[in-house]
Symmetry: C2
Subunit: 210 residues, 2 copies
């Protein structure tokens, strides 16, 4: 996390701001981002609306910052793991093995991201909101590009089958984000569940590309 934070050259987030984003991610996931209000987030936090407005001038900004943080979480975890000296397959496996536990650790953030896929967050009105959503698209694109680079490298060296790159990329990204749709944390979950899941999805992704 320290290395990743240094690498992306961002100032660390205050604990108070992070707490608000955590609460917002949960509330947006539960009620839907369109329905949920700053009031709902304050209630979930047991805090005042003022505390939220101190950091986030509007619900649109709060939502955008949740989406941005969702993209940052996986990017900061997975990005530094890519090793140009490794094979595309080894890199892809390592990336997926880091991606899966990270999306499950920060699950509500990624559920909010799914809502945004269907175009519901494109109603930003203020210039700050528009700027943030531009940042989110840039950040997502940067994360996707790491995978695109690995897929491309694999197709070039023949370890992956030659196929439509964009379709392959989008399919692999959906495959490794599939748990966001179905995963429910369980008290009696064996400690091996998440590593096993990451292995299975790595195997499926590599096989789908070979």
């Amino acid at each position: 996390m320290t290395a990743a934070a240094a690498q992306t050259d961002k100032k660390p987030m205050s604990k108070s701001k992070a707490e608000i984003l955590d609460a917002a991610a949960e509330v947006f996931t539960k009620l839907g981002a369109d329905t949920a209000s700053i009031d709902d987030v304050a209630r979930h936090l047991g805090s005042t609306k003022g505390r939220i407005y101190h950091h986030f001038p509007s619900k649109g900004v709060l939502l955008a910052e949740v989406c941005l943080r969702a993209a940052d979480f996986v990017h900061e975890e997975v990005g530094p793991a890519v090793d140009p000296a490794e094979t595309p397959e080894a890199n892809l496996r390592k990336m997926i093995t880091l991606h899966i536990p990270e999306i499950l650790r920060t699950l509500p953030y990624h559920k909010v991201i799914i809502q945004s896929y269907v175009g519901m967050n494109q109603k930003s009105t203020t210039s700050l909101e528009r700027e943030l959503f531009k940042q989110i698209r840039t950040e997502r694109r940067a994360y996707e590009d790491i995978f695109r680079g690995i897929l491309q490298a694999g197709m070039q060296d023949g370890s992956f089958r030659d196929q439509n790159l964009s379709i392959a990329l989008q399919s692999i990204l959906l495959l490794i984000n599939a748990p966001v749709f179905w995963y429910r944390p369980r008290e009696d979950e064996p400690a091996s569940f998440i590593p096993d899941l990451a292995n299975q999805l790595s195997d499926m992704a590599v096989a789908a590309l070979r």
Copy 2:
């Protein structure tokens, strides 16, 4: 369509009702199901709210019927194609080859379904809405079970790798629904685009399972 309709033993839908559902799917996709109103759907149709209320007593029911029809579209298209005399791989290829064009033909319906994955449609209040959402879950489950059966058969006869069935199933379902997230119809799309896409996703799915 006739065979499928007969098989599922449903009375055909009136043209007026189908038109309203088409409009609702588009409006819910564009504005978000939580934000969109019956007024928005009426405006899109160039019709009165009365016409909509004649068929659907509430927005919740309209939303539920959109989701139910989304599940029916693919089920009626893909279900009858399964041939017990065929190998699991041949069946899976045939199913995906039918599934892909069907989700793209009825794209807004499936975008609404994505919204419902994140738990936003669970706020049904009337007993009719609750009953409809129960039907949707049953219908989706029935569709998933066709794929589950094929995956199970393949693992049993050794043509598919032995792995966690639920995870494999959910992953394959996400993989073949991935185009709902990224596909945009284009004027200059070659006629081969959708068949090629279906082939590529069939190849990826079969490879991921073998």
